[in-house]
């Protein structure tokens, strides 16, 4: 479903070039549960941003559902983000002046759905994430775990093909983090492709496929499909 080939992302900092991603090849199938781990600056967030179309690769190709999405126009990319990709952030990124229900409704508004349909979908999502009682509270009145559940409900309300989670438990204590992970795994069981970027070994280990990154390259991949790249040398 996701095919990255020879994908590079080069940032220019002053007169120095930083290769955040260096000719990465990666194939992810529908319904996979994948964790991306590695030290800070290894390029895992950049990888996530490119898969999520928030960033553009400097070279290489990225096929999402057999479509070269990097060639799309800005508005078309926005549409792909809206309908095919869900984001979950460490910092939750809820809009503080909107209630939980309204935050969840945002993607539906951006999609331009009629209010009646939006209400029904939001109600269902609240039910699914066990947030019905907190529906009309603002983020400031919610616990960390509840905020992240709101963010997950918002990310999945349009039934995206792939859910991208960047340190989803980074701001949560162990117990609430576990609840959030449980919710993510439930979504995985329902067929959503889940990609988790994390520092947390325990969380990373739960994924069915684990990718290790270092210096913009994939240095370890437990997937049988890319065996040949397992323990690949750190420079090519």
């Amino acid at each position: 479903m996701i095919t990255l080939s020879e994908l590079s992302r080069i940032f220019t900092m002053g007169d120095q070039e930083v290769r955040a991603l260096n000719r990465v090849n990666l194939q992810i199938d529908q319904g996979e549960y994948l964790s991306v781990m590695g030290p800070s600056g290894s390029g895992k967030s950049t990888l996530l941003n490119i898969i999520g179309l928030l960033d553009q690769p400097s070279s290489g190709t990225y096929l999402l559902e057999n479509r070269d999405v990097t060639a799309l126009s800005e508005a078309e990319q926005a549409k792909v983000r809206r309908e095919r990709i869900g984001f979950i952030f460490q910092a939750f990124h809820l809009v503080p002046r909107l209630t939980a229900a309204e935050n969840i409704e945002l993607p539906l508004i951006l999609e331009g759905l009629p209010p009646a349909e939006r209400q029904a979908r939001v109600a269902a999502a609240l039910e699914q994430t066990d947030l019905v009682e907190r529906a009309h509270h603002r983020p400031a009145e919610l616990s960390g775990g509840q905020r992240q559940r709101v963010a997950i409900a918002r990310a999945t309300i349009l039934k995206p093909a792939v859910l991208l989670a960047d340190e989803p438990t980074g701001n949560l204590d162990h117990k609430t983090g576990a609840e959030v992970v449980e919710l993510l795994e439930k979504l995985h069981h329902e067929g959503t492709t889940v990609i988790v970027v994390t520092h947390d070994r325990e969380l990373g280990a739960r994924a069915h496929r684990r990718i290790q990154m270092r210096d913009g390259e994939i240095v370890e991949d437990t997937s049988p499909k890319s065996q040949e790249r397992r323990f690949a040398p750190s420079s090519t």
Partner: protein
Amino acid sequence: MNLPDALTLSYRTVVSYRLRAVLILLAMALGVAAVVVLTALGDGARRFVVNQFASLGTNLIIVLPGRAETSGGFPGALTGQTPRDLTLDDAASIEGLRGVKRYAPLNVGASEISFGGRLREVNVLGSTADLIPIRHMRLAQGRFTAGGGPNPAEILLGATLARELFPAGDAMGQRVRLSDRRFRVAGVLAPQGESMGFNTDEIAIIPIDHAQSLFNTQTLFRILVEAQSRSAIEPVKASIRNTITLRHDGEEDITVITQDAVLSTFDRIFRALTFAVSGIAAISLAVAGILVMNVMLVAVSQRTAEIGLLKALGATRKDIKRLFLMETLWLALAGAAVGIALGYLGSLGLRLAYPQLPAYPPAWASLAAIATAFLTGMVASLLPASRAARLNPVLALSRR
């Protein structure tokens, strides 16, 4: 994103930053109110002057004896002729002219008026009955019927004059003495006050034939002519000049002026003044616009993470631009509404403070103020909105 949703969403944003909204709204409102009040003031002054002129008569043409020359002395200086008198017959010749609604010959003089033991100086107008409608005077009592021919010895008294001579208010039908002649009081003028330095409450009016014999003259002071319409003024002016020139053996020895010309000059001056004043007021709207721009730029940098989030959720650049533009749209609209209200209130205050000044804000000024507020808001938020739309989502989201 739909337009109604964008409107709702941006409205929610506006009301959630209350202090910011109130401050921008106030700046906008003051700008709009300044435009409205100052145009009301300018237009009020214009109307005041126009009304003053209009109270002298409508579509008024004034015929004076003698030629106002800008060079060469007065006509006839070389030929030994003096200007011919303007006579009652000259006045009568105007009557039939095309476009003339009515005319009144006029003589003016000072005399002494007395009744019983009371006596005072008075300015006397000699004319015909048509003087009353031409000069927009009204009678409180009685009537005035003087024509061009011989008339009975009747007199109209100004309101103040009547009160002074007849404190009991029984002037009608009494005989007063003007110089050495006796006149019957046929009517009393309604109080009108002073207009253009001429107080109609202090005068007396007698038929033209009596005035000419009282002041021992055959020459009219002037002839007042009312044209049928504004557009008839110029043709009537020309035909009066022709007719009287013919009667005066081809010598153009009269001057014809129109109050209209003076009036339209004043009208133009005051309109220009109103525009200038409202233009100055509009500067405050521009200042408000700069404030809006500043505040919106701050808003964009404050809400960077939120903009990044919206992009991650699939908002297009257009969506984000639209959200920010609509925020200012709401503020501008609310500001304009409050400003109009303040402006009308201020104009009302002006009218209460200066009852003579018809300080009504003209409709165009209110519309222009709203449009300017709207435009200023849009222009001022264009830069912040497009800056928001162009934000790099990765950087925006990484900032906390």
